[in-house]
């Protein structure tokens, strides 16, 4: 019996287990999925937790619930992978031998990469919201914060969900307005990028929104250190920005397992062919989701689109057929803009987000790159879609894995 092993039972790994369980069956194939955790977190929910919009129980379920019964769920730690020998060495000393491996070990924050970030003010006045603990501690802090200088900060790119810190800024504006204390809070958005986002059209729209909400933006800021004593962040050029409350997105890195196994780059991301999702080093290893180094957004929607294409490529690989070079970097993200509204953006490797209608050209009902209540309803409905459709690998109607160009206002097709 042949053996397919999936490393990681987060969004990407769980989707692959579900997809492949329909195709690779006993007695020919055994599928195993390994994760040391027992809980599956709906990570987009971390954004809403600090503002009391979601409760912890909205975003935490068990991993087991989403893994098909025909797949072996192994809940244990991994010591090391030896891809040259097709082996996974488990923490307890046991060894798994695989024919095909899928790496879906994700990305996580590494605050220790920045001097002083994990210092005396960590989770006192310096918070992250990319972990459950960070988001929850921040919620408790915000509940009785009296106001002052709120600094929302990105350490370096790439990060998971690059729009999340902007959404945090918009939701914070909305939150303090509802608490009748917006005039007591000065909000500054600090980014290593030159502007609000990575793509020009969306940047223009988002910067307009920041201005409208009286959120000051500081660009081109490459942080050197968090100065805990004077409560300020300082960049390599000596620019200092004071804070009373710092909400930072620390450096993101791939899993340390990739480093231990010699499979990662300098940030532990696995070098991956961007159109086929095959590892560049090992032909029987495939990578999807945040774990890879492909130049696509690190987001659940990307993993979802990848999963449909990767399923086909793994089946082709097993049959000895050439892989399809089909993945186009498709991402689709709701951006919460506060006050019950949201934007929606749809883009890929070559096409930046523009205005238009989604998913039906000309009709919508969702509007691209424009604020609307319908988009906000879409974002909230997405949690249901995530738990009930996305993880199970159910195809989401009308949304194809590769991006559609119809119904969108492109000036010209250009590489961005």
């Amino acid at each position: 019996m042949k053996h397919l092993v999936i490393l990681g039972a987060g969004t990407a790994g769980t989707m692959m287990a579900n997809h492949l369980s329909h195709h690779l069956k006993r007695p020919d194939w055994r599928i195993s999925i390994i994760d040391e955790r027992t809980e599956h977190h709906y990570q987009p929910g971390y954004l809403f937790l600090p503002f009391d919009i979601y409760e912890p129980e909205d975003i935490v379920k068990s991993i087991e619930e989403f893994i098909p019964k025909t797949v072996d769920l192994i809940q244990g730690s991994i010591g090391k992978v030896v891809p040259g020998e097709n082996k996974v060495l488990m923490g307890d000393g046991s060894v798994l031998v695989y024919d095909v491996m899928i790496v879906a070990t994700g990305a996580k924050i590494a605050p220790e990469e920045t001097t002083g970030m994990k210092g005396s003010e960590w989770h006192q006045s310096v918070f992250d919201f990319y972990t459950f603990e960070g988001a929850l501690n921040l919620r408790n802090k915000l509940r009785d914060w009296k106001g002052g200088k709120l600094v929302i900060h990105i350490t370096e790119m790439p990060i998971k969900c690059p729009v999340a810190p902007l959404e945090f800024a918009f939701l914070a504006d909305s939150y303090f307005k509802h608490k009748h204390m917006r005039d007591k809070v000065e909000i500054t958005y600090v980014t290593p990028l030159s502007g609000a986002f990575t793509k020009p059209k969306a940047t223009a729209t988002l910067e307009h929104l920041l201005e409208e909400k009286n959120i000051h933006i500081e660009g081109d800021f490459a942080i050197e250190q968090v100065d805990n004593e004077h409560k300020q962040i300082i960049d390599y050029g000596g620019r200092a920005i004071p804070f009373d409350l710092l909400v930072t997105v620390p450096t993101n890195k791939g899993d340390a397992l990739m480093e231990r196994s010699g499979m990662g780059d300098d940030l532990n991301y696995v070098p991956t062919h961007k159109a086929t999702l095959q590892s560049k080093q090992y032909e029987n290893v495939f990578v999807l989701g945040d774990a890879s180094n492909i130049p696509a957004s690190k987001a659940g929607s990307v993993a979802h689109f990848e999963a449909e294409i990767l399923t086909e490529n793994i089946l082709r690989f097993i049959k000895g057929e050439p892989l399809k070079e089909e993945f186009d970097g498709h991402a689709n993200c709701f951006i919460e803009t506060g006050n019950g509204k949201a934007l929606l953006i749809d883009f890929n490797y070559t096409h930046e987000p523009v205005e238009g209608a989604f998913p039906f050209p000309g009709l919508g009902p969702l509007r691209l790159l424009k604020e609307s209540r319908m988009n906000h309803m879409g974002k909230l409905a997405f949690r249901w879609v995530y738990w009930h459709m996305l993880l199970k690998g159910t195809h989401i109607p009308f949304v194809s894995p590769t991006m559609s160009e119809s119904g969108k206002k492109y000036e010209k097709a250009e590489t961005v």
Binding site: P158, P192, T198, D235, G237, P295, S297
Partner: protein
Amino acid sequence: MEKVIAGKTIHVNEEGFMTDFKEWDNTIGEALAVENEISLTPRHWEILNYIQTEYKNEVPLSIRKIGKSGVVDIKEFYQLFPKAPLKTATKIAGIPKPASCI
């Protein structure tokens, strides 16, 4: 769009980054540096040569990578190319703005 600099015509995007590295030469580099208010020293050139080599080898550039390159640390990189060093250095080097930002 086209731009005339150091007596030569080059192609640049709306942010002023050259779109065809083959058009670049040292005199254009010097002129682009002047436009960005930097007078190039041998130390600047070491870094410009390094990032051009990385570009030719298709290695994606980031501040982090340059800091770990052994060529220059981030602090000095900032002193040589103030404010936004990676952006300024790549602009002078005649290569596209790094897409380290997705």
